[in-house]
Symmetry: C2
Subunit: 343 residues, 2 copies
């Protein structure tokens, strides 16, 4: 079969790799219907994370179950399944508490124990603890939205949950990548009265508005903070979603949070110093982390299937898997928000 491999900075290829097969009783092999490229895939792509040349990449996909091991109970061949961006056993104390991304037996996709998502097939362990099947085969038009539940929509949802967004809140979303945009959708879906998207890219602003943003702030840094404070009568936001992971984004997030607010963060932290004295003096909390998207798939899947949310709009580019290298290039150059790949 063919799967995406990474060989060095700016060098991803579609390569011939061995066909997957069931090895253990909890394994599943899934035929990929759609996968996509994540903002976090760009870290190794840009050479900012260490890689092993030739290793698999990609951690978001949906597909049809091809085969399962003897002990698998909740999915069967022919099922359409959504796969969270990490594999979890579903039985350890952290999984049982709904924090599957901290599973005691966590397995990464694209590791030695599970294939990467950007390929024709994916074999993974712990099928029951990981995959979620739709009640029936979904219409193809729903595939993009279901695919976002693998990562970006679940991650945006997690940011809003971590920030404790509630009915009537004023929410600020820092970051206009796919996760930030899904954060706007999540905050809106949770009943926020005002959702302020900080974005300076016109197509992303437009999508933010479509996802329920009530205000757009295109300024950054101190000017961005001042704009939020002006919007909120000098008080600040009830909840802030930090969907970038940089020091500047975190600073802005704390700057616009009102006393007693929570900053929900989901961007992988790179060079972030947490302003502990500000947290102390203003009682601003910091919560979040690697999203347990597995926990949110059932609820969000129901919303997608009912047509209540359409997070698949974050895909502004669709390519055949054979053009995966162009997909990375387009996202790296910010020509695309998020690229969907069809094998």
């Amino acid at each position: 079969m063919r799967a995406t491999t990474i060989h060095g900075p700016y060098d991803v290829r579609l390569s011939e790799v061995p066909d997957p097969k069931i090895d253990g009783p909890t394994d599943a092999v899934v035929r990929v219907v759609a996968s996509c490229i994540c903002g976090s895939d760009l870290w190794p792509y840009r050479g900012e994370n260490k890689i092993t040349p030739g290793s698999r990449i990609g951690h978001e996909f949906v597909g049809i179950v091809e085969a399962v091991g003897a002990d698998v109970r909740t999915v069967k061949p022919g099922d359409f399944v959504i796969c969270p961006f990490v594999v979890s056993d579903g039985t350890c104390p952290h999984c049982l508490a709904g924090y599957q991304s901290a599973c005691q037996n966590l397995v990464g996709l694209g590791s030695s124990r599970a294939d990467g998502g950007q390929g024709e097939y994916v074999k993974l362990p712990y099928a029951d603890g990981t995959l979620v099947a739709t009640p029936e085969l979904p219409d193809d038009s729903l595939v993009p939205s279901l695919l976002t539940l693998s990562d970006v929509m679940g991650t945006g949802w997690h940011a809003a949950r971590a920030a404790r967004v509630k009915q009537g809140d004023t929410v600020v979303v820092v970051g206009d990548g796919a996760v930030g945009l899904c954060g706007v959708l999540a905050a809106s879906r949770m009943g926020a009265a005002r959702v302020v998207a900080m974005s300076r890219h016109e197509p992303r602003q437009k999508l933010a508005l479509e996802f329920g943003a009530t205000d757009i702030i295109s300024e950054r840094g101190d000017a961005g903070r001042d704009a939020v404070l002006e919007l909120t009568g000098g008080v600040g936001a009830d909840a802030v979603l930090e969907c970038v992971g940089t020091g500047q984004a975190m600073t802005t997030a704390f700057d616009v949070a009102r006393a007693g607010a929570t900053v929900g963060f989901v961007g992988v932290p790179h060079g972030v110093d947490v302003p502990i004295r500000t947290m102390f003096s203003r009682n601003v909390a910091l919560a979040g982390g690697m999203a347990p998207t597995r926990a949110y798939i059932p609820e969000l899947m129901a919303d997608v299937l009912a047509g209540e949310i359409n997070p698949g709009l974050v895909f502004d580019s669709q390519l055949p898997l054979a053009e995966v290298a162009e997909g990375y290039k387009a996202m790296h150059e910010r020509r695309a928000i998020k690229v969907l790949l069809r094998p």
Copy 2:
């Protein structure tokens, strides 16, 4: 009148100062019935915080209202009142949201606008936004417990609230000062099934057990962490109260928190680096800060008056105000957990 003043490291004195009087319509003058020395008073005492020689000190007291300004509505001369450790206007958006310690017009006790608590009288602005009167004059035996609502009991309560302690939880309390001990009491009162006090001082261990601790861990650092993990089957605590404010205490707090837990912190941070990568990978949140004790006084006062809680046990020393210097010395040398002063 006489009030405590600080003149330099290890130099506090009881000095003659001008009598207070009502200047503004929201002022109150309170005759102090009891005050006390706070762990945070030791920072300037030890010369670790900058001071103005001769300035007033002390921010915890209870007393009888002597006089009020024309606009004061909720307290009247003769009332017994509890004063939170900061003065808040009670009307700004942060006060209305229950974060009085972030009041837009915050006034510190012992500042140019409000007297310090360790004196015979205290004049302060914003009487309605700050003071809480008991329904009737309390029995003198309840004075120590009511005094703790000024700061330490409210602060321990805040740590537990921030850490989201709930019925049945396993809670670890880092720090065995008066605040940590009150944190033990708070977690127990909130229904925690297991309250683990990290303490290596025998009298404090004893008080922790009296306050509801189910387990005592006397080890610190890695050994302390290992002991908690052993107690919790390798999983960690559902909630952690960080009641010290040092880097080591914060490290221990994160080390013993399970995935999805919250570290509630109330110690003024000194040299704390927040482990953002750990927070991310394990979804451990950090919440808390300067406690809005004003918000908790009504509920905790009812508990004290009903005999449900007895936080006044944290006072293991009582001195006349004239011996305030000895009180500081005893706390600095850790001969006393907390010193109560009677004018």
